[in-house]
């Protein structure tokens, strides 16, 4: 469905549908020198579900935010039902009936559900309410939308899918006519995604126009009436009827270039020795065109156990997360995938392996030796390496030079009074960065000067060294673009080929299924399921939400 020109396709999806619910002409958005969206012209018919898809950085979120008035476009115009919007005015967009549900939800965590409904309402802000009156006022609204949350519950205490339902209810509290959802499925389990789609279909049938941003083709085909593809800030196709689109043609439109060369580029960058099958399967996983099944690369079960958790329980952390009698084994030369809705024990798992939390019960072993009582420094000496959840706060010191960030790995094991040799450390960093193909100016530059992909490469270069035995990778590809994601996967496969054990914690099931030799599902801090390839999406999804299917 490669389009030759955006205008030529502008009318396809709206033929006979009357006035466009949302139309934009020549929409251009710039951040400094960077053009996020370039000259996009399209019109979307009312009372339909329109999917907008594309890779990271394709301009999807910028497009959504401009439509909601959060960003003032550099050029171009947006019209709602024929009425032009004033650029960058949220109030104006909301008055026209446009509501945006953000990818990472925008509700103050300390608010109750009822307060979250109320605070966004337009109109007189000074009227006095009572707490009970407020809750009564919104209980019916929430019930009508099928939101299972008490009006008195605090946002921060709700599971993510309920938070999202509340945010959608918030968006529908007024007279929403166009609902925009920015990657709403990113935080949801497959079951919750299905429930969301059902909710959106019901909304469409009541007359709401829905604009949903997705990057997984499977989801696009499941929910959308029309499909629009953005790439590099440009409109490449659509809106087209979803019925006339295949997953293959959509994948091509999203990725742009034919499938092979993109894979080769990523493979070259990683200097990989991995087969073609891996590469094309990676691409399929990247866009979610298919659910790839790990091939039979199961290691022999006789290999060493590089990590073992035996009956490990931790006390609840401040966010309530804990581990509850978790048994896990990671063997040399395998990648163990950890699936689960976020907040179900992933962080305590890393902390237990790292020795950052005291265990309430159980034992941790690294390389078949008990390390339960040992510090992180001692565990690192035994080959434990961690790619942490938060690249920019846990993985790097953004204000410190690159070489200091790199040298941090060796300094932990030394005496605080030991002298260091900055010149040698700088040289080591430069050599490692060259091996890992990090694009940087100077090792003296602060880490914040790097893009997300290069920042992750710095962490990989630091953590994946000759002495590594077990590497924990917590959300290693989150927020990375296609090339960098492929690079990280390549690095994981190479580490596995060298006989290291890897733990991959990810909320992206396509990623997990593509690369893991086994998958374990964490739910409520317990192991809720253990799966071998070929993976059953429905079964894994059910385990994630605690279902008994």
């Amino acid at each position: 469905m490669e389009a030759t020109g955006s205008r030529a396709h502008g009318g396809d999806g709206v033929a006979g549908a009357g006035e466009a619910a949302l139309a934009c002409t020549g929409l251009t958005i710039r951040f400094g020198d960077f053009t996020a969206l370039a000259d996009v012209t399209l019109s979307l018919a009312p009372r339909r579900i329109h999917a907008v898809c594309g890779q990271n950085g394709a301009g999807k979120t910028s497009f959504a935010r401009a439509c909601a008035g959060l960003i003032a476009p550099a050029d171009g115009a947006i019209a709602i039902s024929g009425r032009p919007l004033r650029a960058g005015q949220v109030a104006d967009a909301r008055a026209a009936g446009v509501e945006l549900v953000h990818q990472s939800f925008a509700l103050p965590p300390s608010f109750t559900v009822a307060e979250a409904m109320e605070f966004g309402l337009t109109g007189r802000a000074g009227a006095i309410y009572t707490r009970r009156g407020l809750q009564a006022r919104w209980a019916g609204h929430l019930r009508a939308l099928g939101v299972e949350a008490k009006p008195s519950a605090r946002i921060r205490d709700l599971p993510v899918e309920t938070q999202q339902a509340v945010e959608i209810a918030r968006a529908l509290a007024g007279e929403a006519r166009i609902l925009i959802l920015d990657e709403p499925t990113a935080v949801l389990s497959p079951t919750a995604t299905e429930a969301l789609f059902a909710r959106l279909r019901r909304l469409r049938d009541t007359g709401v126009t829905i604009l949903i941003i997705l990057h997984k083709i499977r989801e696009v085909l499941a929910v959308a009436d029309t499909v629009t593809v953005l790439r590099g800030g440009r409109l490449v196709a659509g809106p087209e009827d979803a019925g006339s689109v295949t997953s293959d043609s959509l994948a091509r439109a999203i990725i742009g270039a034919p499938l092979r060369p993109a894979a080769d580029a990523a493979a070259d960058a990683a200097a990989g020795s991995v087969s073609r099958d891996d590469a094309s399967e990676d691409l399929a996983a990247l866009v979610g065109a298919a659910t790839p099944h790990g091939m039979s690369r199961h290691p022999e079960t006789a290999t060493r156990r590089v990590a073992e958790l035996a009956g490990v329980s931790t006390r609840p952390a401040t966010d309530g997360q804990r581990l509850d009698a978790v048994d896990l084994v990671v063997r040399a030369g395998e990648i163990l995938g950890i699936a689960g809705v976020e907040g179900n024990g992933q962080r305590p798992l890393v902390e237990a392996l790292a020795g950052l939390v005291p265990l309430a019960r159980g034992a941790v072993a690294l390389d078949e030796a008990d390390v339960t009582a040992l510090s992180l420094a001692e565990r690192r000496r035994r080959g434990l390496r961690i790619i942490p959840f938060e690249r920019n706060t846990e993985g790097l010191s953004l204000s410190s030079p690159l070489w200091e960030n790199f040298a941090a790995r060796s300094l932990l094991g030394r005496s605080a009074l030991a002298l260091i040799d900055p010149k040698r450390l700088r040289g080591e960093a430069e050599a490692a960065f060259a091996t890992w193909d990090v694009r940087y100016g100077s090792v003296e530059n602060p880490a914040r000067s790097l893009s997300g992909g290069n920042a992750q490469k710095v962490i990989l270069a630091r953590e994946i060294d000759a002495e590594a035995r077990l590497i924990i990778m917590a959300q290693p590809t989150r927020g990375l673009d296609l090339g960098a994601t492929a690079f990280v996967w390549q690095a994981m496969r190479e580490a596995r080929a060298r006989g290291l054990g890897l733990i991959l914690i990810s909320s992206d099931l396509d990623e997990l299924f593509d690369i893991s030799d086994r998958v374990v599902v964490l739910q409520g801090g317990r192991v809720a399921g253990r799966f071998d390839p070929p993976y059953d999406l429905a079964a894994v999804g059910a385990a994630m939400v605690g279902g008994d299917h």
């Binding site: 949220v90 925008a106 965590p109 608010f111 605070f119 966004g120 802000a125």
Partner: protein, 295 residues
């Protein structure tokens, strides 16, 4: 007992007005460490203008005006010049303390103290010991209640809280966090000016250089102690005033047997303990880990 109630109310009320300014700012996402500066500015402007015009109303108006102007300055520095709110607040305190010293010297020479001919109207002798209570003290509970309603029972209050807690969420529903902060700071400036005026015009009708002596910071402590809630902060300020009253009583009882400086230290020690306890109750999050968001 009546003596205690009256004394505690008279000590606490200036702090309560100032603490309400802190509560407003805190709800909007600013830890206002300029409260001490606002308070002394109000105290100084109140006495000086009353002395110059002979009218308490003019004194109160002046106290409010100058405190509001300083609050507007704080907003400019934080929102437009993107300064760190903590540093800007401390700067404001320095400006208030130094500026009032300079103003008094410029107008009255090197005396360091100014006396106002009249003070804030009180109930008068007809009410016995309660006669010492003035209109600002009597209005205080109503003011706190009104602020509680505004912050906790109106959509305006919700939006203000959203601006403080999650500015992006506020922006997403069309609120302008910078504008909301301006409203919060200006309203707080009014209240802090009244608090300062109550301190100087309420009892002795004297302004002396540096007379706030950390009460603005104690008001700030009350904001934290009261978890940003108007009623909570009010009770915290009342508690501090009670401890101070007990300290003075202890001084009278123990006389020479207890070191004077130790007794004077008690209110501040109680403040530290109070903050420690409230931090423990809230899960031990120290102030410096509270994220300073931009809008």
């Amino acid at each position: 007992m009546i003596e205690l109630i009256v004394a505690v109310l008279r000590t606490a009320t200036p702090m309560i007005y100032v603490a309400m300014a802190g509560v407003l700012a805190q709800r909007a996402g600013i830890w206002n460490l300029g409260l001490e500066g606002l308070m002394i500015t109000g105290a100084c402007a109140g006495v000086v203008l009353t002395e110059q015009t002979g009218s308490v109303a003019a004194g109160l108006a002046g106290a409010v005006l100058f405190s509001v102007l300083l609050s507007a300055l704080l907003w400019l520095v934080i929102e437009k010049l993107r300064a760190n709110p903590i540093i800007a607040g401390l700067g404001l305190t320095g400006l208030g303390l130094g500026g009032t010293d300079l103003a008094v010297q410029a107008v009255y020479g090197s005396e360091g103290a100014v006396t106002a001919p009249v003070g804030i109207p009180t109930l008068g002798p007809a009410f016995g010991q309660f006669g010492l209570l003035d209109v600002l003290i009597l209005a205080m509970p109503f003011m706190v209640f009104a602020l509680w309603v505004l912050l906790r029972r109106t959509r305006f209050g919700l939006r203000l809280a959203a601006c403080g807690e999650h500015p992006f969420a506020a922006r997403s529903v069309g609120a302008d966090p910078a504008r909301m902060r301006l409203i919060a700071l200006l309203l707080g400036g009014m209240l802090a000016g009244l608090g300062g005026a109550e301190l100087s015009l309420g009892g002795l009708q004297i302004f002396s250089v540096g007379m706030t002596a950390g009460r603005g910071f104690m008001a700030f402590a009350a904001v934290i102690f009261g978890a940003g809630h108007p009623v909570g902060a009010t009770f915290a300020a009342l508690f501090f005033a009670l401890v101070e009253f007990m300290g003075i009583k202890a001084q009278l009882v123990f006389g020479e047997r207890a070191p004077r400086d130790f007794v004077l230290m008690l209110p501040y020690l109680a403040t530290v303990l109070g903050i420690w306890i409230s931090a423990r109750l809230r899960g031990g999050v120290p102030l410096n880990t509270i994220e300073l968001r931009d809008g």
